[in-house]
């Protein structure tokens, strides 16, 4: 799927995309290998926390409280951030956000930007828009750099290049950095990236970042990372532009005490991120860091999600990606099947809500509802519950003549009467008879049910139902 932007408006349905990707054995191996490693690390560091469940519960409450008073905290953030010398911009949708960022970059006098990994900029496809405006973005996060140089798309919210293995990365670097003799140890690859990026850090005057958290109490912005490249982008450029969804706010600095325990352990299996940066506006003495700081607070359908009492908890997400690593569906398909930069369970609930439902109709069904995502979510988002809620919305949009809806209504009608149910049981036995082989198995089913018999057989229905047996036996003993 390289080169094709992940856009729910143009993406194939999940089952169609998944069918192709399930055939990509190398990619599946890479994804399985990487998620196995992260999951094992996560389990280890979570296991050493005796109060993990309490922490999760506190994390959930902090996020829930924030969403309840989101307007209050956003206003407080704006006030405090402005007082510290930052400039706050509000964007109602992706287009407005892109225009604001492009305007700010142009005003900074630069034709290039260095970027810190940010899913929000991926969400609005900022890089494409920047390029369209004659601005060259350079990703500085190692994984994002791999994606950018490879003309690829992220497949995971924390580890965007998780679907690539080291050999594939080496090929990309050899080709794009013009390094025919590049070695293949992790050190060789890191060195190549470091050399490539160092020039950019020292010459590019404008930086673009996302945010992990916005702190209302102080007007501060928090970014956590593992490599330190982000910190270079935060401190070296003259102008720093941060773009964040309005859901990123937390009330108090002290709330980070909880969230910064939950996030790294869930995301990468680290006790703490190697780099935790919090910055407040600009240095009033003009000595340290950027001279100008702008922050774009983007709605992009988030207030709409907030209005829905059942879907709302989606906004509590702190983008740790644990649900992706735990999801058996994601582990089979990788991220690109989800047709959006948000993949896995969180993508399956976030994308249909951020985009109009009809662009992402099949995503709420991209789950077996096994609950592994809910089990690991550090802020206890009940993803299966939201999936089912969204399935209801999909069904509401179905027309009267939809075959599935018709079948479901019929079966529902049957279940509402014992007599009809028993008749249907008898009918089922009759109807299947021509399909049953001499050993009592069915190897092929027609229509909607054909998916079943692609790889599985079905035993013929027993001659006698339980209730028939019970009656013959004379009811209660």
């Amino acid at each position: 799927m390289s080169g094709v932007a992940l856009d729910p408006k143009t993406a194939p349905t999940f089952p169609m995309a998944a069918k192709v990707l399930v055939g990509d054995t190398q990619m599946r191996k890479n994804v399985r290998h990487a998620t196995d490693i992260i999951q094992a690390k996560r389990a280890r560091v979570v296991g050493e926390m005796p109060d993990w469940q309490e922490l999760r519960e506190t994390g959930r409450r902090v996020r829930e409280h924030t969403m309840k008073f989101l307007d209050v905290y956003l206003e407080e953030f704006e006030r405090k951030c402005t007082a510290a010398g930052g400039v706050v911009h509000w964007a109602k949708d992706a287009d407005e956000a892109r225009q604001i960022v492009i305007g700010l970059v142009k005003a900074s006098g630069s034709h290039e930007v260095i970027k810190i990994k940010s899913m929000t900029t991926e969400e609005i496809q900022l890089n494409k828009a920047l390029e369209g405006a004659g601005i060259t973005p350079y990703e500085t996060d190692l994984a994002e750099l791999i994606i950018q140089l490879g003309g690829d798309q992220p497949s995971h919210i924390v580890v965007p290049a998780l679907h690539k293995n080291r050999q594939q990365i080496r090929e990309i670097f050899k080709r794009e950095m013009n390094l025919p003799n590049l070695g293949d140890t992790p050190q060789d690859l890191a060195d190549a990236a470091r050399l490539f990026l160092r020039k950019k850090f020292l010459t590019v005057k404008t930086g673009v970042s996302g945010a992990n958290f916005l702190i209302a109490e102080t007007g501060g912005v928090c970014v956590v990372e593992s490599e330190g490249n982000g910190r270079m982008c935060l401190t070296l450029p003259e102008t720093l532009i941060t773009i964040a969804g309005i859901d990123k706010v937390v009330p108090r600095l002290a709330d980070l005490e909880v969230l910064l325990q939950l996030l790294p352990r869930s995301a990468t299996g680290e006790r703490m991120n190697p780099y935790n940066s919090i910055w407040n506006g600009v240095d009033p003495r003009g000595v340290d860091g950027p001279k100008a700081f702008h922050i774009v607070l983007m709605d992009n359908a988030r207030t709409k999600v907030l209005e829905d009492s059942e879907g709302r908890q989606t906004l509590n997400c702190i983008r740790c990606g644990a649900c992706q690593n735990a999801c058996p569906v994601y582990r089979q398909t990788g991220g690109h099947a989800y047709g959006s930069v948000y993949a896995g369970p969180i993508g399956a609930i976030l994308t249909p809500q951020l985009q109009e439902m009809h662009y992402a109709q099949t995503l709420p069904y991209a789950s077996s509802l096994c609950g592994a995502c809910y089990e690991v979510c550090p802020v206890k988002i009940n993803i299966p519950e939201v999936l089912v809620h969204l399935r209801n919305r999909v069904v509401e949009q179905k027309g009267f003549f939809d075959p599935e809806a018709a079948a479901m209504k019929t079966v529902g009608m049957i279940f509402r009467s014992e007599r009809r149910f028993r008749a249907a049981q008898r009918f089922g036995r009759m109807a299947e008879t021509p399909l049953v082989d001499k050993d009592g198995w069915i190897g092929w089913l027609p229509g909607l049910l054909g998916g079943w018999t692609q790889v599985r057989d079905l035993r013929e229905m027993p001659k006698e139902t339980f209730r028939d047996w019970w009656e013959k036996r004379g009811g209660a003993s």
Binding site: A18, A372, V388, K409, L458, T465
Partner: protein
């Protein structure tokens, strides 16, 4: 104790042996089993596929059939999960105060079969004999929604003659997921392939679980691959006795 059996639409139609086994175990333990005849389906398939409105009357039907029961036993963790996780919310949605009260009174007495044995009756050994090599798959709803933990394994360990072998990745979803298996057939098959590989690696004669839905899915693949390995509901193992019919 008088135990009301909710057999589930699925077991009633496709797996009557499981229901018979539940009756046999409970009666052997000295309980009386009743079977409210008007029962049909818990509404899970509709609810989980997004047809909430179709599930509502099934909740009402379930409550009408089972209210006042001392205990309700269900040989399916996913149906019990459906009830525990969603019935209260659905009743509130219907907005009928009586119904809400009845659901609240009824739910604490609804048990998945293995849960009834281990938690309500406090039993591990139910006097079964099953001289076969068996592996156990923890179905997702039993594991995560009901928190069955190692309850089913304890019951199995107490079975005489059994050779219980651990399943690698026992907590991983088998890929059934109701309509998921049909709507996302390819992904479901890939998940199933992992599961059946794990089952075959145990060299067990049979794979057991607390849900016939997972088992039907696993069995379907084991049969397609002509492996000779079969599946059997936990209740059927527990119902087997030395010299018995099963």
């Amino acid at each position: 104790m008088q135990v009301a059996l909710f057999i589930t639409c699925y077991n009633d139609t496709l797996f009557p042996e499981t229901g018979k086994a539940v009756v046999r175990v409970l009666e052997r333990l000295g309980h009386t089993v009743v079977f409210p005849a008007g029962q049909t389906c818990c509404g899970q398939m509709h609810y989980n596929t997004g047809y909430q409105a179709e599930a509502m009357p099934l909740l009402e039907r379930f409550v009408a059939q089972f209210k006042g029961s001392e205990a309700v036993v269900v040989p399916s963790s996913s149906c019990v999960a459906m009830m525990r996780d969603h019935y209260p919310k659905m009743a509130a949605h219907i907005g009928n105060a009586d119904l809400t009260r009845e659901v609240e009174a009824l739910l604490p007495n609804v048990y998945e079969f293995s849960e009834f044995l281990t938690k309500r009756l406090g039993l591990e050994d139910v006097g079964a004999f099953y001289p076969h090599r068996v592996t156990y798959h923890a179905s997702c709803h039993g594991l995560r929604n009901l928190g069955l933990g190692d309850g089913p394994l304890k019951l199995l360990k107490a079975v005489r003659g059994i050779d219980l072998v651990e399943l690698q990745g026992l907590e991983e979803c088998c890929g059934f997921g109701g309509t998921f298996a049909v709507k996302n057939a390819e992904v479901s098959s890939a998940m199933l392939a992992d599961k059946t590989r794990a089952v075959l690696n145990t060299r067990a004669e049979a794979c057991t679980a607390c849900d016939n839905s997972c088992l039907m899915h696993i069995q379907g693949s084991l049969h397609r691959q002509r492996t000779g390995v079969h599946t059997v509901h936990l209740a059927e193992i527990l119902a087997s006795e030395a010299g018995g019919a099963a």
